[in-house]
């Protein structure tokens, strides 16, 4: 078990290295630079800035420098938010993103699994149709539509909830962004769960359990649901990594000071270090959640247990 975890973490190092390398060079080959503003700077200032940030060095040297800094956990100064380092920006934004993301994840997971199971048990009934239609809405309507519409209805017309901002971080402020963030994932979970549950209920061993007179609850909960949760668990990794690292759309619609926005702001402004920082952050989240999910999977399914 321990050796499995260590092995997995070790194999993450080359992946991270490749991610850093690819994004570094892709970013640098894109035209423009962090100081190409709409109103061009005087050449002297430009030169000074470039020197100050080490952008005048040959590319490979910049790369090596960056690499060694990253190894030491230093993502460098931000070019857009000149007063902060990328580490500081992430440290400031991440707690907001994680809190919102966790809430959304819980909502999506619980809601999706419950709705999917319910629909599967009443396959082809009216309830099933309803659940599936609603989840189709969830999958098809993007959160940049859901967000504004929620604001329009609950904040503008009904004026029940604030339209945006973090406020004091209480639930009142988080409900709308949480729903907007969770809805698409909830829909995915519901559809996955329904499909997996229907398949699980058709399995031969479910027939065995029924043939042995076990009560419906036992058949469904102990035998069908455990199998049906397997695809859900697999989907959990990319979903959790995506939700916890913030969504650029939701954070900008609801003005939430999380890390999701940095990425887009950084990319548009050629803030090399900020973009690289967020990319590495997301990659780390993906790797960690993949590992967690693999361990969870092993717990649920003895066939893939990791010794």
């Amino acid at each position: 078990m321990i050796s499995f975890i260590l092995r997995r973490l070790a194999s993450a190092v080359p992946t991270l290295f490749i991610v850093v390398t690819i994004s570094f060079f892709m970013m640098r080959f894109a035209p423009g630079g962090p100081f190409n503003l709409e109103r061009p700077l005087p050449p002297q200032t430009m030169e000074n800035l470039n020197r100050a940030y080490g952008l005048d060095l040959p590319l490979w040297e910049q790369y090596l420098r960056y690499l060694s800094n990253v190894v030491h956990g230093d993502f460098g100064p931000s070019y857009v938010y000149r007063d902060n380092t990328v580490d500081q920006l992430i440290a400031m934004g991440l707690p907001y993103s994680i809190k919102l993301g966790l809430l959304a994840l819980l909502l999506a997971l619980i809601g999706g699994v419950a709705a999917g199971t319910y629909a599967a048990l009443r396959q082809n009934s009216l309830t099933d149709l309803l659940v599936m239609s609603v989840s189709t809405v969830g999958v098809t309507v993007p959160n940049f539509v859901v967000g504004p519409v929620l604001t329009l209805v609950f904040a503008v017309i009904l004026a029940w909830l604030p339209a945006g901002g973090w406020g004091d971080g209480s639930l009142r402020f988080l409900i709308l962004p949480m729903i907007a963030l969770a809805l698409p994932q909830l829909a995915v979970f519901a559809r996955l769960m329904r499909g997996a549950m229907i398949e699980a209920l058709h399995a031969d061993h479910i027939r065995t359990a029924r043939a042995y007179g076990l009560p419906a609850r036992t058949v469904i909960v102990t035998h069908a649901m455990r199998a049906a949760l397997l695809p859900i668990v697999s989907y959990l990794a990319p979903c959790a990594a995506g939700l916890l690292t913030g969504s650029a759309v939701i954070e900008s619609i609801f003005s939430i000071p999380g890390v999701g926005r940095y990425f887009v702001i950084g990319a548009i402004n050629r803030d090399y270090t900020l973009v690289m920082g967020t990319v590495v952050l997301i990659a780390i989240f993906v790797i960690v959640f993949n590992l967690v999910v693999d361990l969870l999977y092993g717990l649920l399914d003895p066939r893939v247990r990791h010794e």
């Binding site: 992946t15 098809t140 940049f144 539509v145 504004p148 990425f263 548009i268 973009v275």
Partner: protein, 379 residues
Amino acid sequence: MSDLAQMPVLAPHAPETRGRSLFALAMRRFRRNRAAIAGCVVLALVALFSFVGPLFSSHSYDEVFPSYVSIAPSLEPRPGADTLQGAMENAVQRARLRLDAFQVEGRSFTATLAADQPIDPRATRYIDRANEFDDTVVKETLEDGRKLVVEGRVTREYFPFGTDSNGRDLLVRVMLGGQISIAVGFLASLVSLGIGVVYGATAGYVGGRLDNVMMRFVEILYSLPFVFLVVLLVVFFGRSFILIFLVIGAVEWLDMARIVRGQTLALKRREFVGAAESLGLSDWQIIRRHIIPNTIGPVVVFVTVIVPKVILLESFLSFLGLGVQAPLTSWGALIAEGANNIQSAPWLLIFPSAFFVVTLFALNFVGDGLRDALDPRDR
């Protein structure tokens, strides 16, 4: 041992000589699926609206109406009858006449002018001088010329969807947005289909070390945040329409490649591929005659998943301000604009969102229908 001749030679339920292919059967199942057919109809209507609609509108997508900025949607033409009445009264006053009756019907008006003395028919010029009226002609002269019935054209504009904050007709812009979103959706899916099928089929069929290397590469691309790739590519290549769908297609092919590879691997183990091999078919013949025809089903289904995904992605990019450049637009860009003006002009959000959501819904139903039809046990 029963005689061979006694063996029932054909399935008893199929008396006709030409068999039904699996594809024909699938199409029959598809046609029976009402939701999917409804989805097809809706898609056709939306496409018609987007691509043919602009021909029926006198406005172009970049035409600015400075006098109609951010007006609410209405089926009534602009300006309204009251405004016209006022304008006509002004014009008539300047001609020192009385206005007895005034009627507007669509884009033409009828007015009855009156005076105490016979009216000079040239008085119509006063009317033509007003911005709103044109081509005024005398239709009838009554009461020895003391009354004139005149007719003319009214310059009126219809804005059933309202206008945006620049004074552009939202209806036409939604049509244009539809053209771009749908076109990007299909073209990008084709690009991802092309790359994905070739890449996946090669990796799956050749197998071994090449497969390992190719799939490792896909995995690395997967671990890069997907939006990152798109944003970078868009920033890199600029924001032209062609590049946007190329870029999205170039990112979306990963899933396609995986699916096709999985299919190919599964097919390679099927006995009919083994049979083809033992008949002496070459690799290429096997891929062409056996692998590709048999992957078509899942691939078609997957394309119906990809098209809405790509439309979503394009609108996401537009939402972030990375999509097509103004004055061109797409549904995503329109929705972003609407979201920014949500309090003052909610119709800017509602119309594009409605078309967008209806289209995605329809695509979804068509996709589900195709999946059920092509893989009937998957239910």
